[in-house]
């Protein structure tokens, strides 16, 4: 079972809209305040990456149910330049030390599951899931 909705990211305001969408869904699914804030932060980070590095793209939020457990899936997709060195962007301290934000390692930590696919010149697709425990 899944149920989806999405926000196109083009301006900084769209980041806020994506956050709002994610927070609403998280709340409806029954996530607590702290987890709502974590999910929203992850969305924020992904949307901001699209806004800053890809120019435009889409954040999609899906409700998941697997083995009777509910969860939320964030999909961040863009057709930007792609990430030349994934290992580098997944490294601790690479983006955060300059105060640039949580970065992708942050998103990975905020969520339970994290997958990234990127092709140079074609774009990037990131999927992050959090389960309701």
């Amino acid at each position: 079972m899944s149920n989806q909705s999405s926000v196109e990211i083009q301006t900084e305001w769209d980041i806020v809209a994506a956050r709002q969408l994610g927070r609403n869904v998280a709340k409806e699914l029954g996530f607590g305040t702290v987890d709502q804030a974590r999910i929203t932060t992850a969305i924020s980070e992904l949307a901001r990456n699209i806004y800053l590095y890809a120019g435009q793209g889409k954040i999609e939020i899906q409700r998941l149910t697997e083995n009777g457990i509910n969860g939320i899936l964030i999909i961040a997709a863009d057709s930007g330049p792609g990430i030349p060195d994934i290992r580098k962007v997944m490294e601790d301290g690479f983006s955060t030390s300059g105060g640039l934000g949580a970065g992708l390692p942050g998103v990975k930590r905020l969520m339970d599951d994290f997958k990234i696919e990127t092709t140079l010149g074609e774009g990037t697709d990131i999927r992050a899931t959090k389960w309701l425990r």
Partner: protein, 333 residues
Amino acid sequence: MVQKIGSQYKEILNQYMQRQSEQNLYVGQNFSRQLISENTSPEDVISMHKAAMQELYEEMPDTVWHSFDFLIEMMINYGLALQERQSLLQRQEELRMEMDLAANVQATLLKTTMPSLDGLDIGLLSVPLRKMNGDYIYFISDENGHAGIAVADVIGKGLPAALCMSMVKFGMDSMNDSMAFPREVLSTINRIVEKSVDDSMFVSMFYGRYEAETSILTYGSAGHEPAMLYRAETGEFEELTVKGLLLGVSPMATYEEKEVELKKNDMVIMMTDGVTEGRTAEGFIDRQVINELILRKIDEPAQVMVQYVYDELVRLQNAELSDDFTLVIYKKV
């Protein structure tokens, strides 16, 4: 400075207190980022929060203010942990620089020159998992079209492996014989490794001796990942298996050798286990996958093939390699 941050905080908090909107939370969180980058401790955040609340809502019960004092006390150790992170990041940066320098030294020490041989198109890629490569390729060649290639892998990664590899290189240098056959090369290097490193370090090695005139590759292996032979005529792959113990196990080890004659568009694909032992969420990547990747670029130059195989395997493994990666293709043209 601190005062400026405090009044910014108050302003942002006040906006949120007026209207609990996502927009105001977004502004708050961006501000928290800035605070971290300026090394503002969490206890300072609580303290600013308390001060802002006191200015905005004078009439609160004392309980509220006490509760913030308690939170400040709770956050002191969190603040220390955050400062520790700062110094760990700095130390990591220093180590990274030392490792970079060491990796350069290693690269210069171990540099080898790809031979240019009549009728052979060579593609080569060796990517270390971390800074220092524990895989190693050594070439030797002469003007008469004889060339040797050693593809080696130290069991173990990182620094200890890298140190060990310099020994293999100096062993090959001291033989300095492009016409040597695999069984001689492997037993010589075996004796050096056995003598020079402790019992927990082993090296696997594939050695191939190619003669341009006859297009014959003679090969031997010391417990190394088998090379693959691609026959253009049938479009099929076969493993080049050959017996031999890992280097460093026993000074008495002897090495088998076999030969294969390459025809036009045939390929020999040499690799380390970092190529074949990748894992995806679905399990190990098997040789079938690698063969298919090669077939997709079968008409391209050897260098394009190795790069494509690497890129695709990285993609399949979600960028999480677990070993040094070395792939060499000899393509008879």
